[in-house]
Each structure stands twice: as structure tokens, then as C-alpha cells.
Symmetry: C2
Subunit: 170 residues, 2 copies
DNA sequence: CGCAGTTGCTTCGAATCCGAAGCACCGTCA
DNA sequence: TGACGGTGCTTCGGATTCGAAGCAACTGCG
């Protein structure tokens, strides 16, 4: 049953733990800053930032979910919340009648702008303060490649959909 | 109000996004593997692993919570769940009557051993496959320092406790 | 066209998570 | 000893999360 993979060496274990711990600590800290600055959860901020980053300020639900690594149903919930607060709008897509286009509003942009300086400040003090220029470049490079690799090998998160018929690989 | 911090440059932004995305993708994938292999959530696995790593197989609740970056109340919930499944025991501490000592059981160790090979295999294929030896060493080094820095500057997570007296800033 | 399989999103139910408040014990100071 | 603030954990209430199931629209094939 177990394919008995090579056990991880100390460096690999260190990298893994450091990745999980660092991201958890950072997320935690950022979440508090966002909550105080603009009453946003981390996901909500990610969604607004993703939309703000887009040329049109719009994205499809599915693309948003994939972008922030979130479940579809979770995104529906958050989109409803953001819409009720007037930070985004949801409109049926012209192309595809099934699809819903989420667009950031002026107020959404305002909230984003309001929390952003504090967000950047926190990152500066908490994450980048301990790192050199070369460290940051290495981080961007290595983690960027890791991310790309994982995006290409979706273990099952972003997999299209659980098929009904038996898995041919089984 | 806003202290107008230097905006982040492209490399910093890339490092930040890559960190969040990579950790999210990895967590997501690991969570599925753990669910299938031993019906464990990620936190539960982290807790068992932390206990298993200890010489005595025991830790205080607070130390566990800090270790895995979790709320106290959340840890209480998980400890109850793990206890009801017979994977850990909870006993009042001899030293301090308030304190609760959590100890991993033989069955807990067995579950841990059962999921571990798959866990390692997943890390190998998903995270380390895309990285060179030097990459992994850099990751462990840089993220390790970042983690240590963040642990020393608890933004408010591990802060002792919200005071009762009115906030002087108000 | 009409059917079958697929995709995009929402609803539903249950599990999980957190902060605030509460309770009990600990340590210090007089 | 007795008061008092600090610490460790749990309970409580509400918000958030996910997977499974459901519904509607799209696509390919004859």
C-alpha cells in the first residue's frame, strides 16, 4: 500500500515547516490588520485585490475561486457578502448565460485603497524587515516556481469535477 | 493616519503572492491526502505530529496552540475531537492545576504512522519535485528567518490578552 | 432539431473556526 | 493570611467553510 517514499531530510522538513508556519503567522497578522482597517477578511481582501488588479475590474466566479484557492460554494457566500456591502456587483455574463461576472465598485476600490497602506506597512515590518534583497528575490523565484508546479498538478482541488463514472486509473 | 509606507516593488509583491499561493495550494492538497488516508484535518495532523515529535508525547494546550498558530478555543474543540477518537488523552497537569496536558496515544501514533508515507510522498511530488537542492536550502533558510522574526513580533495573535480597561487611543 | 455529457453557479446541511466572556487556579504584595 | 491582577482552559454564539446535490445553460454529435 505505502509506496515507501524516501523520508524527508532535515532541510526538506525545515523548508516545509517554515513555509507553513511563516504563511500561517503572516496570514494571521494580516487578517487582524484588515479587520481593523476595513472590516475585511483575508479572502475578501484577496478578491477585491484580484478584481482591482484586472483591467476591467471584473472576473468570472470560477476564475476568482481558482485564483484565491477557494471552494465554489465558499466564493458564492463571499460574493453575496461583498455585494450586500456594495463592494462588488454580480451580473450575468453576456457570453455565457450560466456565468456570473463579478465587478468591483467604486466603494470597493475605496475600501481597497483604505486598507492598502496598512497592509503594505505590515508586510514591510513583519515579513520583509527580516530579509535582505537577495532573500526576497530568492523567495519570489523559488516559491514562484513551486506555485506554478502545483498549479499544473492540481491534486484534486481545481480538478474539473468529480466524475460520475469510475476512475479509469483505478 | 496612513503612514504612507514605500509601495512594494514587483519582486516583493511576487514573493508575497507566491508565498500565499504556494502555501494555500499545498495546504489544500495535503488536506485531501490526510482526509483520505486517515480522516484527519490539517490541524489535527499538525497536532499529532507535534505531540509525536515530543520526547514525552505530551504538550500543554497553550504550547500546542502557539505551535500550530491556532486560537485557544479552536484548540479546545480539536482536542475534544481527537480525544473522542482515542488519538490523544487530556489530563490535568501535575505542576499547574489549571493547565491541561495533551498526550498522544498508541492509536494516535498508529494513525500518524499510517498517513505519514502518503504525506511525504505528496510533498515530494508536489513541492520538492520542482525545486533543486539549493532551492530547498534557500527556502528553509529564508523562511526560517522570516518565521523567527514573526514569532518575535507577535502582531496580536499571541499577545497576552485584550485588556479590560478602555483603549487609551479611543 | 434532440439527446447526452459537461460546465457554472447556488442551495443545503453539517462541521469548523474565532473572539468574548466566564471560571478556576496561580503568584505577588502587604 | 487575604486581596488582586495574571494565566490556562472551556463555553457560548455567530460567522465561515466545504462537499454533495440540484438547476440551468452550453457543446458536440447524429
Amino acid at each position: 500500500m505505502t509506496s515507501s517514499p524516501r523520508p524527508l531530510d532535515a532541510t526538506q522538513l525545515g523548508a516545509y515547516f517554515a513555509l507553513i508556519e511563516a504563511s500561517s503567522l503572516l496570514k494571521h497578522a494580516v487578517e487582524q490588520q484588515l479587520r481593523e482597517a476595513g472590516d475585511l477578511s483575508y479572502v475578501q481582501f484577496q478578491l477585491l485585490a484580484t478584481l482591482g488588479d484586472s483591467d476591467t475590474g471584473s472576473r468570472r466566479m470560477t476564475d476568482l475561486a481558482d485564483g484565491v484557492v477557494y471552494s465554489r460554494s465558499g466564493l458564492t457566500y463571499q460574493a453575496q457578502t461583498l455585494e450586500s456591502r456594495g463592494l462588488v456587483t454580480r451580473t450575468p455574463s453576456a457570453d455565457d448565460e450560466r456565468s456570473v461576472t463579478v465587478t468591483i465598485t467604486a466603494e470597493g476600490s475605496a475600501v481597497l485603497a483604505a486598507v492598502f497602506p496598512g497592509h503594505v506597512g505590515l508586510l514591510d515590518h513583519l515579513l520583509f524587515a527580516a530579509l535582505s534583497r537577495a532573500d526576497i528575490e530568492a523567495l519570489a523565484d523559488v516559491l514562484g516556481r513551486a506555485r506554478d508546479h502545483m498549479r499544473q498538478n492540481p491534486p484534486r482541488s481545481a480538478a474539473p469535477r468529480r466524475r460520475k463514472k469510475a476512475d479509469p486509473a483505478g
